[in-house]
Symmetry: C2
């Protein structure tokens, strides 16, 4: 579409990502009940206060027995009781005695073996072992998974479902995590249609508001979407109001060099300092990133100015937005790009591109198929896309070449 | 740990998945505001009511011009007005006239070309073109992305962020989706510790409750977690109460063949019919799936009985739980396994296994590194794991062999 290529002096994608990943000051931490910490990042390492298992227990349904000799096959034992998982009963086994025990049941004192029920013949109040078994088989020993005092999780650990379950099992009830940023989304421009009739008047339906609302909901943050018209006074007043109470302002539109592109000048007027502007990428070239620091230096507000085109908004949030939100929570891991194989050739372009593609696995390889309708005002191919792929600038690519990307099928 | 291998007659993982994917009756549909439909599945296809773009518009900041001759370089045009994105002004260009236009601005009647501002020299109320340009360059034409009446999305489409944005852009405000299932989670057993002191009494901290609560929260469903003791009367009363009002009951524990494994008999007593029991897998062999149908046949309740070991709960939910919830929303796509390459050998086991592994990309290939502590009562390696990998039964595997799996790093 647009014939415009790469201007001189544009920043590379990697440089821009590095600034967003490293520059923001992390927010304060807070202590939450573990269940409330889902999808947050740990601010402190966690060391186990208990052994796991915290007592030796049976790994099967069967019998705990005591036998000082090694020969066990065809030997009979007297059954003196029963231990369920969670049972508080304390038994002491004597030689030749057995106890019915269930998976998770606490191994009684004196136990030398556990015999699973499949190899046991029950004879009234006695049992007979049908096979020879090894000592300590089918016993889960105290601390065999985790020793008391051992590190369970490190700073920065994402509290995903698995991590949350593992911490629950170690009895962790509260965790210290970084606060989530307070985010305001500002949609600029006069072109948003409220009804089909508005389309006749040159307006378009708003994709950016719903897109950003959904993106943040998925990330776990509720945001308010503000719409403001393209007037410098309004944009300035908006930034002035938001900069004190929000950690992040996301804007869409108004960051190019058009006569109505008020975001940058209004940001500067309200005390934001530019970190970067313009990235050598497609879509999203006019991407703008700036920071405001309060006079007392105890509050920062970061402004990520996205272009107005919906594909640029989508790509920018998936690539840069996530890195910014994570950095504010002190999670500063670089983007983990997949590496995958193109199944077709691609023409060269003056800017590095993020293309929406369909990725699929074949014999251990991730293969990529590009989709039609990649222009920055088009979104319909997101119905089929499951990844964004980085296509380097200024070289034509052939089928079989390796490129990097991220999955987007959330 | 457990010496128990594969019994005769166990169902394969693929057979069990196929039953869960195909047997459940889909729930009713409901109409939601688009924004409320995030992560739901479409019940009807959607056809566009508008063209996209809905009017021809400028792709750049520049000038719309009218010129009947092909020679344009160094030609001057009189500027007669200005069109912003969203502007309602209607202009009619005459030969030799130009209009200042911004990205997204509606192309005026009579336009033959759009000249981006970088190739235009402004001379008071006139402009001069510095380069030759092609007709129709930098114009986005009506309907070039989507034609009115064209299908935007098909039945079963997941309303992810991208799909939601694309539908917003086409002015779609309400969508018909399948209802989400009402889910009850029942944790059976007496072994749950409330405090560190309880550990001395043979109890363990509850991982399954928090795990399932978090799993469903991530899926988008709020669930209540019920704890009941291992007594037949209680389990029966619980199922009797839940079966009428819930679409899904998830239980943990009590599905093996121990003397306290009440889930199956109590399910049968309350009218559930077994779909399958026992899968040739590790962890999770005693997995139980049953269905209740109300006498009027207008309500079904599906019971997924998970083993009590937390790793079995985790794996079963990631593999089978998601398929069940999706099937109830008529999303019956088979699991999309990745294919990846082992970086080391693995011993043989009598059952197919799901191993927690770390997957990483290298030159277009997905490589797999297994983690220690895979036993079914252990979860701590979920801090490092980002995938579950299927390891076939009864054959040792070598480095370089291809296996399948799913990502779990949500």
């Amino acid at each position: 579409m647009s014939g415009c290529g790469a201007e001189k002096g544009l920043m590379s994608i990697d440089e821009a990502l590095e600034l967003i990943r490293t520059q923001p000051k992390a927010l304060k931490t807070e202590v939450l009940a573990l269940a409330q910490g889902l999808n947050r990042y740990l601010a402190t390492a966690i060391y186990s206060e208990v052994n796991l298992p915290s007592f030796s227990q049976s790994a099967v349904d069967g019998y705990a027995i005591k036998r000082s000799l090694t020969q066990l096959q065809d030997v009979c034992f007297e059954v003196i009781g029963e231990i369920k998982a969670g049972s508080e009963l304390d038994y002491q086994l004597a030689d030749g005695q057995a106890i019915r025990i269930f998976t998770g049941g606490k191994i009684p004192e004196g136990t030398t073996h556990v015999a699973r029920q499949e190899i046991v013949q029950v004879e009234s109040d006695k049992i007979r072992l049908l096979e020879q078994i090894k000592p300590h088989a089918d016993i889960r020993f105290t601390g065999e998974e985790v020793q008391q005092g051992q590190q369970l999780a490190d700073v920065g650990q994402s509290i995903n479902i698995g991590a949350l379950a593992a911490l629950s099992m170690a009895g962790v009830q509260r965790i210290e995590v970084f606060q989530q940023p307070k985010v305001a989304v500002v949609i600029t421009g006069d072109e948003v249609a409220e009804s089909p009739e508005d389309l006749q008047a040159g307006k378009v339906f708003d994709a950016n508001g719903p897109l950003l609302k959904a993106w943040f909901k998925d990330y776990g943050i509720d945001v308010e979407i503000l719409h403001i018209v393209d007037e410098a006074a309004q944009v300035t007043a908006c930034f002035e109001l938001l900069k004190y109470t929000y950690d992040v302002i996301i804007t869409t539109g108004g960051v190019s060099v058009g006569d109505y592109d008020f975001v940058r000048p209004c940001a500067f007027e309200t005390g934001f300092e530019q970190v970067f502007w313009k990235v050598k990428q497609k879509p999203g070239k006019p991407l703008f990133f700036a920071a405001y620091q309060s006079p007392e230096q105890d509050h920062h507000c970061y402004l990520l100015g996205l272009p107005g085109n919906p594909a640029a908004v989508y790509v920018s949030m998936q690539i840069y937005g996530k890195v910014l939100l994570d950095a504010l929570q002190n999670q500063r891991q670089a983007v983990q790009w997949f590496s995958a194989i193109l199944t077709h050739e691609l023409k060269s372009d003056a800017r590095e591109r993020f293309l929406r593609m369909h990725a699929y696995f074949e014999q251990g390889q991730l293969k990529l198929q590009s989709l039609a309708k990649q222009q920055s005002h088009m979104l319909s191919n997101l119905m089929q896309a499951n990844c964004l792929v980085r296509i380097p600038a200024n070289i034509p690519l052939n089928a079989g070449q390796e490129v990097s990307g991220i999955f987007i099928n959330n």
